[in-house]
Symmetry: C2
Subunit: 345 residues, 2 copies
């Protein structure tokens, strides 16, 4: 690697101190620097194609202009869409993004956070897995700026930006009921994350509000592990028993992706035999036989807001911001009201 030009090189060539070069190239105290000298410095810097060493700058200023992004899996469309939004928003403020995937595993997430902090990121954007609370509390104590994304912990007073899950799901279930569906199945993950608890709660209370008794068998809570197989089984169980459900609610895009495949495999028509609602859009839903009704997460707003809150926090704004954004129910063909007679065939 050829040696890059440094401030010193420029200083020597122009015959001034590095101090001056630094001031000029950073546009500081520019009003009391000799115009000619400044001009000359700029010229030489340009001709040598000077690029500041951000690392050296960081060591001195304690700012890296880098933020860390911890997602569950960057290859998941939810994460990667968010990553793109964060990237763009960060870029506006001259920040760069270092990322990592936790796979929802606590040790991985912990290690990731430590690694990113050793890299001296100025702050963190975290989609936290279960059990990370103690480490978050520690970050908070150390004064490390961070914002939680998508999930949060009610017992922790931290910045976060998430969907108003309760309301979103309540709305979705109400819509199903309004369209004439009564036997509504929910496929979700088994977890203590507030996100999914709220989703379940929204489902339960929407049923209750409409005086529809809930059946335990309608709710399938899957463990992590063999997700695809589990979803397929859950869909089969719910749709092909003696008293099948007439509508299915998927609590995440991954669940929906596999669930829809299974509906295809079972040759069930949507919504005639079973209506479908998914939380989280995915471009791919458009390939399905029937356009899917889904809860649209305000990803753009989530990503931008979270990034802004983080950058504010980095600038020593000490307020705590907690946002539960409203999801939009996008109604498509998959929840069309279906004639009861037809439906029972």
């Amino acid at each position: 690697m050829i040696k890059k030009t440094s401030l010193k090189d420029i200083a020597q060539l122009v015959g001034v101190s590095t101090t001056l070069v630094s001031y000029v190239l950073n546009n500081q105290k520019i009003n009391r620097i000799n115009k000619q000298v400044a001009q000359k410095i700029r010229e030489v810097a340009k001709s040598l194609n000077y690029q500041p060493n951000q690392i050296a700058k960081s060591l001195k200023t304690n700012r890296t202009y880098t933020i860390g992004l911890v997602v569950s899996d960057i290859s998941n469309p939810f994460s990667s869409s968010l990553a793109r939004i964060v990237e763009d928003e960060a870029d506006t403020h001259n920040y760069t993004v270092l990322f990592g995937s936790s796979d929802e595993k606590l040790p991985k997430a912990q290690k990731l956070i430590t690694t990113l902090l050793n890299r001296q990121v100025d702050g963190l954007l975290i989609a936290p897995p279960e059990g990370i609370e103690p480490q978050l509390a520690e970050l908070q104590q150390q004064g490390t700026p961070f914002v939680l994304l998508d999930r949060y912990f009610p017992e922790l007073k931290t910045n976060y930006v998430a969907l108003d899950n309760y309301k979103a799901i309540h709305k979705a279930v109400q819509h199903l009921i309004d369209s004439g569906y009564r036997r509504i199945g929910l496929i979700t993950f088994q977890t203590s994350l507030i996100t999914l608890l709220d989703r379940k709660q929204g489902y339960l209370s929407a049923l209750k509000d409409n005086r529809i008794p809930v059946r335990k068998t309608w709710v399938k809570e899957l463990g992590i592990g063999s997700i695809e197989a589990d979803v397929r089984k859950a869909v089969t169980d719910l749709t092909t028993g003696a008293r099948p459900v007439d509508a299915l609610l998927f609590a995440s895009n991954t669940l929906a992706l596999y669930g829809l495949q299974q509906l295809n495999a079972l040759h069930l028509s949507v919504p005639e035999q079973v209506a479908v609602v998914s939380i989280d859009q995915a471009e791919s839903y458009n390939l399905f036989q029937t356009p899917i009704t889904y809860i649209k997460q305000p990803l753009l707003e989530m990503g931008q807001l979270a990034t802004k809150i983080l950058l504010d926090a980095i600038k020593k704004n000490n307020t705590i911001t907690q946002a539960n954004l409203e999801g939009e129910l996008v109604i498509h063909e998959s929840t069309r009201a279906v004639d009861r007679v037809t439906k029972l065939t």
Copy 2:
């Protein structure tokens, strides 16, 4: 932010020099250091929860253990899948990944590369847009390690890892022909990138090899811009004219995604009315009415190999590695041989 503990803090507490602390914590010259002292240093480091400042280390060692990843758009499944693989492979070697999206735009890509280099990344993984050649040549001249991903420039002698596009598409078209299809449309991008030129070439020569005259109208080369609308129009044009094609080949996953939607909209059945092959898999194809035959890019191999080559290059290995990996044709229902009579209905 509370001050983090530094080497100096530990040194003072233990009553030794920072030199010694550094050696111990980095396991260097450990055989000639007093065991007791070493032990004590480790204890204190632990009790103070010492975390090395990677930035300071980097300034001295000229190694950041960070690589830059320039993709076209991190929210595209191709990019994000690759990003995940790169992340994992990099992590194995204690490297972290800084990423950015170029949107296939030259100025964005240039700025990104500069930014990443100012961050002193040890090397770059780049999915290069058209026109970036001069900057790549410059990087090469400066001795900055980099590996091109997915695309490359024949006139530039650089490391790269890409698909053997010519062969892959040739194979796909041959398969269509073997299944009885003769009027094969290609939907691709208008570009000078070798990747897509090779794909087109593979298509043309497969037809030629089978003595099928090529019609210009069968090849749709779309500009960047309103991709979705253009794809939809291209699909409509190709499938609904007086002499429609009997098979469609999509040259990228984005093209296929929109194209399949349009086939749905046109109520065309696959493969009865038109067969479909796509380059690049996407989990989402599984939602389509008919499972899609596609060319499977060896993403895992691509990402891992590219990362390994880069890390080798960073370690001053001066060989140049160029890999054109073979794609696998995964045959599904969408290219099933269809009875000619049925097909013409």
